[in-house]
Subunit: 453 residues, 2 copies
C-alpha cells in the first residue's frame, strides 16, 4: 500500500499531523504501537492535570484552614480518581480514533521500522506489513530516561507511568527530578497526605527556569513540609525489603514507601531502524532535523523525538508546519516563535520565550522588571501570595515573561502574545486590563522600573 503521508506515533504531534493531512486530502496512515494519544494523553499532561484538577480544593482549603476561616477535612479516594481519569482518557482516545477514521486515516497498529528510505514495516502480533510513502512524519515522542542503578522496577521504584496506576497513596514518596513531572506529581500526592522528598542533581528546583523561580519554589515547598535535596547526585535507587531506598553519591541514604524517577526523557527512536532511511541520530537517539524539520529526504521528525522542545504544543506546532511543507503549502524554514511552558499545580510556573541566561548567551543585554504577587488582590483573595511575575526586556521590547505562584499558568496566552509581538510599554497601555485579576500582576511587572539582569 502506498500512502501520500504516513505518520508514525499518535501523540499530540502525530494526531495533529494525521488529521491535518487527511483534512487536506492526502491519503494518510497513522502508525501506533500502543494507545492513541501517546504520552500526553495517556501517561503525561492529561492524567496529571486530571489528578490536579480533581484535587484542587485540597491546597485551597489547607490555606484557609491555616487562616482559620474554615474547619473541615477531606479524604480523596485514589481508586476513584484513577477511575475517573481512565474514563476520560478512554473517551478522548475513542473520540480521536473515530475522528481519524471519519477523515479516512488508516490506523496501522504496530511498531514501525524503516525498510528503505521510502518504506516502513509495521509489525504487530499478527505479523509484519510493508507500506510505502511519498512523505513520512516521525512523531514517536520520548520515554522516561533510565539511568544505570536507578531503573524503575514497578515495585517500589516507579516511573511516571507506574505512578499513575497506584491505587493507594504511599505514606512517603521520594521524587528524583524537580522538573514539571516531579513537581506536579509531588503536589498531587502531597494532597493525598503523602510525605514528599524531592531530589534534584542540579542546584535549583525547576532547574530550567531562572534561579529565582527555583528559590521561590523552595520557600513555598519548605513551608509545605517537603523534604528538598538539591545539588546532590543519586548513586542508586532500589527496592529493598518493600521500601524504596535512595543512595546519594555521598553514601547517605533515604528510605520511603515509594520512589518516582522523574528525571529526564529519552527519545523513542530505537525501534525505527532509522539508519535504513539515512536518518541521523545524536546522543540518546535524538533525530537530527534540518531547518524544515526534515530528517532525510521526504521524512520529517517532529515533537520530542527531534529533541528541540519536549512539550505537547511544540509537537502540535511542528506537525502543522511539517504537513504544510510536505504538501507544498510552505517552503519557508520552520520557526517556532516564543514557546510557552508551564508547570501546573497549586504553585505554578509560567514561562514564555527564553530565560535570562539564554538571552544573555545569545548576546543580548537584558533588563528585568518584576511585580510580586503579594500586591495583587486576587492572589490575596486565595491567600496564596508567594510568587512574582518577571518580564525580560531587550532594547525596551518584551523578550520573555516568567512567573511563579498560584494560578500563574492562566497568564500564558496573554504573555505569549506579548513576547511574540515584542511589546513595548506603549502596547501595555494599548489595552484595558480587567480589574480585579491576577493579570494585573503581569501589568504591574510590565510597567515596573527595570534593572539590569
Amino acid at each position: 500500500m502506498m500512502y501520500d503521508l504516513i505518520v508514525v506515533g499518535s501523540g499530540p504531534g502525530g494526531l495533529k499531523a494525521a488529521t491535518r493531512a487527511a483534512t487536506a486530502g492526502l491519503k494518510t496512515a497513522l502508525v501506533e504501537k500502543s494507545d492513541i494519544g501517546g504520552t500526553c494523553l495517556n501517561w503525561g499532561c492529561i492524567p496529571t492535570k486530571m489528578f490536579l484538577g480533581a484535587t484542587a480544593a485540597s491546597p485551597l482549603l489547607h490555606t484557609q484552614v491555616k487562616a482559620k476561616t474554615v474547619t473541615g477535612s477531606l479524604d480523596f479516594s485514589l481508586p476513584s480518581l484513577v477511575q475517573k481519569k481512565d474514563r476520560f482518557i478512554k473517551g478522548t482516545r475513542s473520540a480521536a480514533e473515530k475522528q481519524l477514521i471519519s477523515l479516512g486515516v488508516d490506523i496501522l497498529k504496530g511498531t514501525a521500522a524503516f525498510s528503505s528510505p521510502t518504506a516502513i514495516t509495521v509489525t504487530n502480533d499478527e505479523g509484519s506489513t510493508e507500506v510505502t510513502f511519498k512523505k513520512l512524519i516521525i512523531a514517536t515522542g520520548s520515554m522516561p530516561s533510565a539511568f544505570p542503578g536507578l531503573e524503575p522496577d514497578g515495585d517500589c521504584v516507579l516511573n511516571s507511568s507506574h505512578v499513575l496506576t497506584l491505587t493507594e497513596a504511599p505514606e512517603s514518596l521520594i521524587i528524583v527530578g524537580a522538573g514539571a513531572i516531579g513537581l506536579e506529581m509531588g503536589d498531587f500526592f502531597s494532597r493525598l497526605g503523602t510525605k514528599i522528598t524531592i531530589v534534584e542533581a542540579l542546584p535549583n528546583l525547576a532547574p530550567s527556569e531562572d534561579p529565582d523561580v527555583g528559590d521561590t519554589f523552595r520557600k513555598i515547598l519548605k513551608r509545605e513540609k517537603w523534604g528538598i535535596r538539591t545539588g546532590e547526585k543519586v548513586q542508586s535507587l532500589k527496592t529493598v525489603d518493600g521500601n524504596a531506598v535512595l543512595t546519594f553519591e555521598s553514601g547517605e541514604t533515604l528510605t520511603a514507601d515509594k520512589a518516582l524517577m522523574a528525571a529526564g526523557r529519552t527519545p523513542a527512536s530505537q525501534e525505527l531502524n532509522a539508519a535504513a532511511a539515512g536518518i541521523e541520530c545524536v546522543g540518546a537517539g535524538w533525530i537530527t532535523t534540518d531547518d524544515h524539520l526534515l530528517a532525510a529526504e521526504n521524512i520529517y521528525a517532529i515533537g520530542d523525538v527531534n529533541g528541540r522542545t519536549l512539550l505537547a504544543h511544540a509537537a502540535d506546532h511542528q506537525a502543522c508546519y511539517a504537513v504544510d511543507h510536505a504538501s507544498g503549502k510552505t517552503t519557508a524554514a520552520y520557526e517556532s516563535g516564543p514557546m510557552p511552558a508551564c508547570i501546573y499545580g497549586h504553585t505554578e510556573v509560567m514561562r514564555v520565550g527564553p530565560n535570562t541566561a539564554e538571552l544573555q548567551k545569545a548576546g543580548h543585554t537584558v533588563e528585568t522588571s518584576t511585580a510580586m504577587l503579594v500586591a495583587n488582590s486576587i492572589a490575596q483573595s486565595y491567600g496564596s501570595t508567594q510568587g512574582f511575575v518577571k518580564v525580560l526586556w531587550v532594547e525596551n521590547k518584551v523578550h520573555g515573561i516568567v512567573a511563579i505562584g498560584h494560578g500563574v499558568s492562566h497568564l500564558v496566552t496573554g504573555a505569549t502574545i506579548m513576547v511574540k509581538q515584542q511589546w513595548s510599554l506603549k502596547d501595555v497601555h494599548s489595552i484595558i486590563w480587567a480589574h480585579p485579576t491576577l493579570d494585573e500582576a503581569l501589568e504591574m511587572a510590565l510597567i515596573a522600573p527595570r534593572k539590569p539582569a
Copy 2:
C-alpha cells in the same frame, strides 16, 4: 488654596488620577468623604473577590463529592472571612493613603460641592473650606439604586454594602438583580449553605450578556438548586416580622431570612452642586461629558458617575486620559477601546467588546464561532464542563469574545488583545497555544466554523 488639579472621589478612577497627576508634578488634592478606595475597594469588587477566593474550595469540592472522588465536609466561619477581608482592605487603604502622601497629594476629608466653576467647598464635621483649582476631575462613582417600595432597611432588606457585614449566613436569601453583584453574592452565600433565590425583571440572568450566556447560567444554577425567577417585576421588598418578604407585581410573595437589593446603580452626583459649575446631568444624575470626558471647562467626569461604563478598570483608563489631557499630553478624543467585563465565582462570565446585539445595532453583520468547554481537558479536570467560548466576527475580524464557565475570567487579557487588535484567523495561528490549558477552548472557538448570528 489653589491646586493644579483636584480629584473628587478616591475609587479606582480617583486614586489613579491623583497618583498620576502628582507623579507628573501637578499640585494635587484628593477629596474623599468616606473611605479611601471607594466602592471597588471597600464595598465592591475587592470584598466580593476576597470572599469568593477564600471559599473557592467549596464548589470544587462539591463537584468532586458528586463524582465520588472525595468525602469530607467544610464549615466556613463568616466572622473570620469578614475579619480577613476587613484586614486586607484596611491594609490596602492604608498603603494607598501612604503612597498618596509620599507623592505630595493633599487628602481633603469631606464632601465636595462646587461654589463656582473654579472652586469647591469641602465640608466635614469641622466645617467648610473653599479650595480653587485649575483643573478638576469628578470621580465620585455610583451607589446602589433605591427603588420605591424596595428600599434596603439594613434589617432584612440589605444593599450590597450591608450584606458584606453579616456575621451569620442567612438560611435563605432572596437576591433582586441577576447582574454581577447578585450572581457573585449568591455564589458566595450558597457556599455557606444559604438557599438562594434570584429575581430578575429582565428575561435573562446576566441580562447585559448574550442570551445564551443567561441560558447556560440558568442551567448551571438550577442544577445547584437556586430558585430562579426572571421576567417578573417586583412590587415591594420589606422586612415583615423578622423576615424579608418580596411581593411580585402579580401579587405572589416570596419569603426569606434576608433579601439583597442588587439591581441598578445610581450616580453619586447629588451633593456636587454641579449646576454651580455649569455641569449638566441626565437621568438619575449621570454627568454629561464630551469627547474629552469634559463635563465643563477644565472639569472632567470619569468613572461610573459619567455613566459610560460602570467598571473599575474603565474608571482607571479614563483617569489616565483625563490627567494626560488636563496636563496637555494629549488632545485627541477619549477612546476606551474594547472593554473587558467579568462576573466572578465558580461559574464565571468573561466578555470583551460589544455583544451581538450591540454589534448588529451598529450595522454590522455578525458571525459567531463557538467551542464548548466540555471538550477542554482542563474543564474536564475540574469536573466543571458546562459553558462555552464564543467569538463574534465582523468581516473575518474578531470584534468580541464572550465566555461562560468555570475559570473563564482567566481568558480576559488574551481576549482583550485579540479584540483590540481585531485578530484574523492568521493571527490565531501566529502564536503557540500552551497545552493543556483552558485557553485552548478560546483557540478552538477562534478556529471553529462560523455561522451567522
